[in-house]
Symmetry: C2
Subunit: 326 residues, 2 copies
């Protein structure tokens, strides 16, 4: 049997047909254009999915199940998306609407959970019974795999690791609280630190790299400058790596998984980031002499969304739609 | 069949025989006297266990399995206790030594995990597939139940919830790091806050309750004073409850269990504490309109150690010793 994975993003919809090992057989993409009515977005998801199936030289009846990763949360008992802020969706019947185009069982999950599940089926954490995925992007997302399955909690709101408080009354977060982890560990955090440094040191290497136009400063600017040895950027980068090590220890002290996987834009810094984090992690560990999780970079990149969604479809089909309390 | 539960504490060893539902049939206690050699402590554990079995009008062969809760961590593959700081134990063969007295399968687990498991089998969280137990004592311990089983992590170091960082570079912790949750949510934290207040307000109600002798100030002093309406103590108590609400949100945002259970000395404040925490929790929640876990007080009190240990023995016997990665 084949499995259809749909990665629903704020800018693109990516559909792919996978085999049962999570290998992508065909892919198709279309713009999301999120300002349109819900039904029109889902229509394009459906047509994109049908085109991916055609490209796989398959027919809809070859598809055993459909998985969808969304930047939000859903209730799989009702097939409704509860929140999907980027797309302005609130309590919409995604499963019912999509089944007008491909009438197969649909399973919807948060995109970070989907990406983490993909890595655990076909990526760097393959073979691990427990792993935690951290996406270091505009925000910080989390994906938790326990006993080989995604863990989404008793009410579907688990793994919001970006919103663990790590600083009492710290930096205000978009969520309305203060001091959330994502204010310190996201790409946005690295950009903020870079801008602050440029305001104090207007001629620093960072400021020069963007010709003084701080609106052009990205996480990559800071990382490239640090990599070149610039002292100010090195300082920021190591501060960032320290926050990330603290965050990883919070994962270790809570769940002690076999592996922590780093994905998202900042993880493109590769070994440079990984080495800095691994160097700082032992300080934060509770039991210095006990073995602890491996920390690795995600391997599947943009394809994690399709693969993870397809594999969610598979696990749902094979083991039954697991309710949140399972 | 019957199950033997042993609660190994720094001052007392409590042994009990339970039926398969976790009902205590008989109990026996003996002092730990932790300064003695390891073998002598285990000898008293063994004799105490045999006495509990005799009191239950049973013989050792009626016991299907033995569970032990320890203030430390153990490796059940080897039967050795890795750390048990209060007792000064480092890498000792507890299973082998105890089996000289009662030769049955032994399963050892951290005491907070054991207490949380007890509540999930026979206490307030009975029937919950997922729950998180927080002991609010000298430190803060955690017990995680996932899919009805204790979760101890891939390397046995999970659920050290007292050592999640909640304040960057915060109050120094006994573990060597700074800003750990237990510096804000333990009985010790409430005592520290009380002492600080007394130093600034030497004639406050709190100081009067201990006749100015701050070494006599306990968490109960602060709670009693707050309950009587004293303004300074009310302020401290609500600050404490706010930290605890923040900690509970970290649990919700990570694992989203069905229930969070509060145990340990501070939880004796009862509804007074529970109401204050429940009032403060919504502010910290990421999804304000989604359902979330119930927060309840532990019900089993001191018996949780025996019951949880006995039920660990049962689950081990019935489902096989689960390794950390299960």
């Amino acid at each position: 049997m084949l499995y259809l994975g749909i990665d629903l993003g704020g800018t693109h919809i990516a559909c792919g047909v996978c085999d049962k090992e999570g290998r992508i057989i065909s892919k198709e993409e279309t713009p999301t254009l999120p300002d349109r009515p819900f039904e029109q977005v889902v229509r394009d998801m459906g047509l994109c999915a049908l085109e991916a199936i055609r490209k796989a030289e398959a027919v809809p009846n070859d598809i055993a199940a459909i998985g969808i990763g969304i930047p939000g949360i859903a209730n799989n008992d009702t097939g409704r998306v509860i929140f999907c802020t980027n797309l302005g969706w609130n309590d919409v019947p995604l499963t019912e609407e999509l089944q007008k185009y491909v009438n197969k069982p649909v399973y919807i999950e948060n995109d970070a959970t989907v990406a983490g599940f993909a890595e655990s089926v076909a990526g760097v954490s393959k073979g691990c019974r427990s792993s935690v995925f951290l996406t270091l992007g505009t925000g910080v997302g989390g994906g938790i795999i326990v006993n080989g399955k995604p863990w989404t909690g008793a009410h579907g709101v688990a793994s919001e690791l970006g919103h663990l408080t790590i600083e009492l009354d710290g930096i205000p977060c978009t969520c309305g609280k203060d001091g959330c982890l994502e204010r310190y560990c996201s790409a946005t955090a690295l950009i903020r630190m870079g801008k602050e440094a440029c305001q104090v040191h207007p001629r620093c290497d960072l400021a020069q790299r963007v010709n003084g136009d701080l609106s052009k400063l990205t996480a990559k600017t800071v990382i490239d400058s640090a990599r070149s040895g610039d002292e100010i950027s090195m300082h920021l980068f190591h501060r960032y790596a320290r926050y990330l090590a603290l965050a990883i220890n919070n994962v270790v002290s809570f769940l002690d998984p076999e592996m922590v996987v780093l994905g998202g834009g900042v993880s493109n810094a590769g070994e440079f980031l990984l080495n800095a984090v691994k160097e700082k992690l032992p300080y934060f560990l509770m039991f210095k002499t006990m073995p602890y999780c491996d920390v690795q970079l995600a391997r599947l990149g943009n394809e994690a969304g399709i693969i993870g969604a397809a594999m969610l479809g598979r696990i749902m089909k094979e083991e039954g739609a697991f309710s949140y309390a399972d």
